[in-house]
Subunit: 339 residues, 2 copies
DNA sequence: ATCAATTATGTAATCGATTACACAAATCTA
DNA sequence: TAGATTTGTGTAATCGATTACATAATTGAT
């Protein structure tokens, strides 16, 4: 039972041509009702399934889009993907996922193989700011394949993006800490060659300035996004002559590490020290000492990225669209910064 | 710059035929060194990219596999997918993801569209035990497309599966509670028409029997996998004339809800009451009162499912393979069950 | 120098579906 | 009823790559 039924098989059986079968199946108005019915019935009887590869080859549209993320098992990214899938599924698109593990080589390789696979668009969160991938990205744009950056982007001609306002997120989080009465606010930053981290930092800085707080370079530490990095950073901060009494962390994981280390040093949260995270990872809500965090609405971000893609693909004029969507971040204020 | 370079373009430029170009690109040994070099150079110069759709149509292999999960933004599933992707990427396969939201209609629809897209295999965690999807699944098997169930499975001819030993997981978790001195152990079960929940339940039951503890039907409650369901279930348990002093929950989320509700009732964990979860969701580790849980090694499960697929696809004989892999669960014993 | 074997390349069919163009039959017009 | 329309199908090319088979060119054997 491994045979595949093709339109030719149906045609042979009914003694008509494949062209007629194709037209009948596609509800072409030029086909008589009788023939159409006959074809549809026979197709059903023979368990005909259309071969989308053949269709795609002919039409030049694969109905697949590629999504590239650093790794899929991070809640933020899987939520974005969920949003993308839910938006594109009703439109008949399939989502192909690729992981880069923040490795530039893989990033380039993924883009290339997706292009070879003839995807109709690529949605990606770029992980590397070097110039290495520029030619590959340019190739995508030149081929008129919609490319949309989400969360992490890079300025490039012809590339759309959906991001959140990281500056505002940083600003609001810092302001919340100030409002809570914190006076010496430290900041855990990520790699600041990435816009997102740079912007969160700038928002932090601006809030300090606006509310007349001192800016201390020793208070800004670059950390990885994990628990241990947060612990280490806190250790450094506590050894300062004048340690801070709050942290705005660009990473929820680092924020958690910070809290753990602070507690072990007998520091009370939020009484003596407040912490604000970024990302609104699920665990921040589940903790007994729940962590305040900036929500990036990943679901919404994914949906929006998908919408931008759809808009772009339906653009028949040869005008290059370049759309920049910036979502508003929302604060989730929890125990770690409430007193 | 939207033109695509095909082998015909290369052929024309070099005044040879497309066949020769194809052979040169595929390192066919019948091609002279000179021609091969010339073709490769020209291809590079013209920025030739192979069109995998055309290749796939010809070969009948799309190099895509479909992965169907209830939803991607649950850590367990995204980790499985990560494992699958990492195992299949080096083999040149792309992973297409589909979500069902536990809806049977979508499940059937996803299988169908994946088949139409000519995927080379389908890996899925089945969410519905009704007979509705049987014909569709049978169709996959009949077409000789490898189908592999992971985590949640259904007994079907020709379908392989990768699961963990849920019975042993349930048994060991319950035993751990008994070892901790708990005497009246309740159980939160999921929908027991799903094998995984039935088996966890059976393991629980067996452990009680083996260690001579009473089995109380009031102690077994079917809950959904979320925090509120856990809270409600605890409320019920506490209203019993002889309430339990431990819970083995089939869900980490329900376990968390249980703990929250217990605490609010002034019950001390683990001193007065122990809790064991299932799934080892990331948050169980991050809580201050960390939750013991049964680890399902999702990464390993994904890797293994991918390996079974690869094995099956390389099976040239027409023998149907049906492989059942059962992974050993591993206990993560944490504070919620340690005294 | 003749025939066989080897090597490199061309020819054309194939994978399955779509569609511009051609054409026959049915229907309509005057 | 001749000629013009309309309607429904067929013919054949196309999408891009692969490959069985055919054939030309070269090398080797005797």
């Amino acid at each position: 039972m491994d045979q595949k039924t093709t339109i030719y098989d149906i045609a042979k059986k009914l003694d008509i041509t494949a062209a007629t079968v194709s037209r009948a199946l596609n509800n072409n108005p030029k086909i008589s009702e009788a023939t159409r019915k006959l074809v549809l019935e026979t197709a059903a009887k023979m368990n005909y399934k259309q071969n989308r590869l053949a269709q795609s080859l002919r039409s030049g549209k694969s109905n697949n889009v590629g999504v590239i993320v650093p790794r899929i098992d991070v809640n933020f990214f899987s939520s974005v993907i969920r949003g993308i899938e839910e938006e594109l599924h009703p439109e008949g698109y399939h989502v192909i996922i690729c992981q880069t593990h923040e490795d530039e080589k893989r990033e380039i390789e993924n883009i290339t193989t997706l292009m070879n696979a003839q995807v109709d668009g690529i949605l990606m969160s770029i992980s590397n700011m070097s110039k290495e991938n520029d030619p590959v990205i340019k190739h995508v744009v030149d081929k008129n394949v919609p490319l949309i950056f989400f969360d992490r982007k890079k300025k490039m001609d012809g590339v759309s993006s959906v991001t959140i306002d990281d500056f505002e997120g940083g600003y609001l989080a810092t302001k919340n800490l100030i409002d809570a009465g914190c006076t010496r606010i430290a900041h855990f930053s990520g790699d600041r060659s990435l816009e997102i981290y740079e912007n969160r930092f700038k928002g932090y800085e601006q809030a300090l300035k606006d509310f007349g707080l001192e800016w201390n370079p020793d208070y800004v530490i670059q950390t990885k996004s994990n628990v241990d990095a947060g612990r280490n950073a806190v250790t450094k901060l506590l050894s300062l002559p004048n340690p801070p009494n709050a942290i705005f962390s660009s990473s929820d994981f680092a924020a958690l590490g910070a809290i753990q280390e602070l507690k072990e040093n007998g520091i009370k949260i939020p009484e003596d020290f407040c912490v604000f995270g970024f990302g609104n990872e699920p665990f921040t809500r589940f903790l007994e000492l729940s962590i305040s965090s900036v929500d990036q609405s990943p679901l919404e971000m994914g949906r929006m990225a998908a919408k931008v893609f759809l808009e772009q693909i339906s653009n028949t004029d040869n005008i290059k669209i370049e759309k920049k969507v910036v979502l508003k971040p929302e604060l989730q204020i929890r125990k770690s910064s409430t007193r």
